[in-house]
Symmetry: C2
Subunit: 576 residues, 2 copies
């Protein structure tokens, strides 16, 4: 029997059946994920403009909280590329990067985002994430990838670039191009080349050298740590920090601090701006998390519960906010690694958190000489896989409206920044959808000779009758297209003075809202004034139920026919 | 043959066939409309917070311009109740009522609204007006009617009420209730009672006295002028203005002035706020105008051209802005009177404009003692016909979503004012529509025994097969419902482990956008991972064309069947 609270705390469900086999699988997965997370957490903290330890902190408490509340067995939460970028963009105008106020604002952002996600989960508002269409997400993620790569140029080149959008970054790059710090550039490009080679060719090379597939896989995943080690040793051996190479520096070891960002009164004036950014992070983070979670769950024929995921992500973000972290989400790369490494339950996340804690206690002195350029290279390699130019051609070929939404989101994100880009993209996709449904396909239909089928007169050789106009509307009728139908019928009737009957075939009408109902009444009255009767045919059950609750059927000058053929037979026989 | 420019200047079309019969019909209609317009123009100017002559000016040049560009033979443009209210609301925060800046701002508002309408007409954006749903318009107009009536209380009671919303007006009324000016109240209530009686009973009474229907009609329409005359004589005879009754006062006679509101630099800081109000006025005015125009045109089996109407209304507003007027639209009452009085062409509007000009030249001294309370009574009687409480019960019975939009628009308009109310209403109706289509009806279907029909298993006794899941989605697939379908299929497949095939019956799917396409691909891949094949049946032609332009059909693990019955036969025969 399921525990009565298991709906709210899924750990009560899977925790009962937790076995030694689960434990060893989860422990192995945790070890692999930890190896990958150390550089990644530091890098995303750097991307968000925060001190490196914030990345480690954000990868501890949230994982434990998610394990208690989450419904995915393999999702791994923590800092992610796009949410870190949005964090940086939001904080840039609130506090100076690296300052204490900046870290406090990042934590407050996580806290706000957490409460928003939690509230959405409790109110079962998971569906709002559906309004981010694929083209908008695709354009947003591609542009974010490019923006993130562009912001990392400052670390790769050792110059102080400023800005979060292309119009800010490009002039800044131009201005500082001559001041490139050569040792930094050498380390950055070297690490970049190595990481690209690892990603592209290492696994195949190892297999060619005769290694088994499993070993080749683990070595490939661990290889980035080599880049960190080698560049750290170089920086230490050559004392490159003294000649201007920026290194990570002192990372405070130990347990994450307990922080109370909401009590920081300095931030209250900016609360509105932070709340807007938090909403954006919540939506983008939730969409990323739930997509990854669903993909992985489906592979094992499991399910995740979107509303429970909202609550789990919300609580994870609150945990991040209270322990010196910044906004987190279920990241794509770490979750896939977790899944591939064989994690069986969310306990793997708890083990990862403890492994990271150990690393924070023991390894931080070793991170002192880690060049920021290496971390930047890690980020660039990771985010460039987000950029999908193929989506442009695919979407262009498939549908122009979707391409418009994609191109608009992509270019506005690059030009105006992440918030404006995503907002414009969502608005555009909603308006394009409304625009399309506001001009539905309306076919004049006629009888296919010898049958009871009625088809479009423009596509088929069909029989029509001069006194009867048969129309089929291929869309539900609602406010945005109700007047379009009025116009269409008015034009048809004005153009064909012989018409005495209009029959509306309602096969594709799934709903008629109050506006469309009034439009239908208007059409009926206008047609009556012009001496034309209006009829309906093939009205769906639920639509008919609703019409019967109004007085439309009393106003209808004509009749409602079960089939279109009955309508045409009756109306043409009456007056042959 | 039609003149080549007749598309842009409809006067070139109807002007050619203009006859003496047209002339006499139009002249009679113009005389009747003018009689009604003199008090109405003054009253709407008062409502907008402007000096009375602004109302006369706004009823001259715009009518001439509309006659050249308009496509309705009977629409009468000029100041209208709701646009005047929005004008007052917009100007209240820009300049002090009655000041020179206020009148300039009103003219600028007309100019801005004119250019917006003109641009929308040139860009053929007439469809944007369709996004104002009937419940939103109904709620907005009812609330506006009540608000207008409430703002007129100050003129009826002779107390200085302030505010444009109920939370402002009610305390103000409470505060000033003791200061009621008794002569003003007596005149106001007397006029009100007389006008209500005229509207309700005069026509029937006159018929009962033996007058012919035509005479009874004309007398009824002219009767409000009697209220003006009697109260003016009372005010003059008793010198009531000296004891505190507010009268219209000096109205400058003569031609409208040429004004250049755009050159008034004082107004530039407020331009953004004015532009927003102008957009609102444009939309509301256009919807009112085009609804009235279409209703009247249909009665004569004529047509109006929405995009040409936009241009005509735009040019009319520009004319109003350049001649000391304020925003105008095709008003409901004046157009109906024009139609009933027998107007045949837009020339009737030109004659009305000249008649009003004559009135402005000759009658203005006679208006000096006209009590503002009488004008307020005229407004109250006119706007209370706008309030339609029946819409609440009708809409509640018909559809809760529509009722929500109606109630929200109504209450927010009363509480927060016209701009917030309409904006919230439009947003709510769009979101409610998206919400509805984001959770489409998805039926599991089975075979009606002995037929090739497949119907909902919940409503009919049908045959199903444990290995084949047949689903029918009653909605086009797009971004807002794509993930809903993913969830639904994932839940179904997780709940029925025996399933080996999923068949999607696509009869009600009029379109599949790029997001839904990606969702379908995700579904296909997830099902494949779980060992389930996915098939489509009865895909519509245009949808299939588009799918063939993508590589979806290569990824599809199953097949596309022409009919659902063929699909089920093939899949159940394979593995009996």
């Amino acid at each position: 029997m399921k525990h009565p609270l298991a709906h709210w705390f899924p750990i009560l469900h899977w925790g009962r059946g937790y076995s030694r086999a689960h434990f060893s699988a989860d422990a192995v997965a945790a070890a692999v994920v930890t190896l990958m997370l150390i550089p990644q957490s530091l890098a995303y903290a750097l991307l968000a403009g925060l001190p490196p330890e914030a990345g480690l902190y954000a990868s501890m408490a949230p994982l434990v909280v998610y394990a208690v509340l989450g419904t995915s067995s393999t999702l791994a939460v923590g800092p992610a590329a796009v949410t870190s970028l949005v964090t940086a963009a939001a904080l840039g105008s609130v506090a100076a990067a690296g300052s204490l106020g900046y870290a406090a604002a990042a934590a407050l952002l996580a806290l706000l985002s957490g409460f928003m996600l939690l509230a959405m989960g409790v109110l079962r508002l998971g569906f709002v994430a559906h309004f981010l269409s694929h083209p908008v997400i695709s354009g947003f993620v591609s542009a974010s990838g490019l923006l993130i790569a562009a912001t990392q140029l400052k670390h790769l080149m050792g110059v102080p670039l400023t800005g979060q959008t292309l119009p800010e970054l490009v002039p800044s790059l131009w201005q500082h191009a001559a001041q490139v710090h050569v040792p930094t550039l050498a380390i950055g490009l070297g690490a970049l080349a190595f990481l690209v080679w690892v990603r592209r060719s290492l696994k195949a090379r190892l297999r060619a050298w005769g290694l088994g597939p499993l070993v080749a896989d683990v070595v490939t995943k661990a290889a980035p740590v080599l880049a960190l080690a080698v560049t750290t040793l170089l920086a230490w051996g050559l004392r490159l920090d003294e000649s201007g190479l920026r290194v990570v520096g002192t990372v405070p070891g130990g347990l994450p601090p307990l922080t109370m960002p909401a009590l920081n009164a300095d931030l209250w004036p900016q609360i509105e701006q932070l709340a807007l950014a938090a909403l954006l992070i919540s939506l983008v983070g939730f969409v990323e998390s739930v997509s990854v979670g669903q993909s992985l769950a489906a592979k094992r024929r499991e399910r995740i519960e979107p509303d429970a995921e909202l609550r789990a992500l919300g609580a994870s973000n609150i945990a991040a906010g209270l322990t010196g972290g910044f906004p987190v989400t279920g990241g794509f790369s770490r979750s896939v690694v977790n899944f591939d490494a064989g994690a069986r339950t969310p306990a793997a996340g708890v083990f990862t958190a403890f492994a990271l804690l150990l690393a924070a206690l023991l390894l931080t002195p070793a991170l002192y000489y880690l060049p920021q350029a290496t971390l930047a290279a890690t980020i660039v390699v990771a985010v460039l896989t987000l950029v999908d130019f193929g989506a442009f051609t695919r979407t262009w070929r498939y549908a122009r409206a979707d391409f418009t939404a994609l191109a608009l989101t992509f270019s506005l994100t690059l030009l105006w920044g992440v918030e404006a880009g995503l907002t414009a993209g969502v608005s555009a996709s909603l308006l394009l959808y409304l625009w399309r449904t506001s001009r539905p396909h309306i076919a004049t239909v006629g009888r296919v000779p010898g049958t009871e089928h009625y088809r479009n007169v423009l596509r088929h050789a069909v029989q029509t009758h001069p006194r009867v106009l048969s129309l089929r509307v291929d869309e539900s009728l609602y406010f945005a297209n109700a007047r379009y139908l009025e116009d269409h019928i008015a034009a048809q009737v004005a153009a064909h003075p012989a018409i005495a009957h209009v029959v509306l075939q309602c096969t594709a009408i799934n709903a008629i809202d109050a506006s469309a109902l009034e439009s239908l009444e208007t059409i009926v009255h206008r047609l009556k004034d012009a001496g034309v009767q209006m009829h309906l045919s093939e009205v769906k059950g639920p639509v008919m139920d609703r019409l019967e609750r109004s007085d439309f059927l009393h106003h209808l000058s004509g009749r409602v026919f079960l089939t279109h053929h009955q309508a045409i037979s009756a109306l043409t026989e009456e007056q042959p």
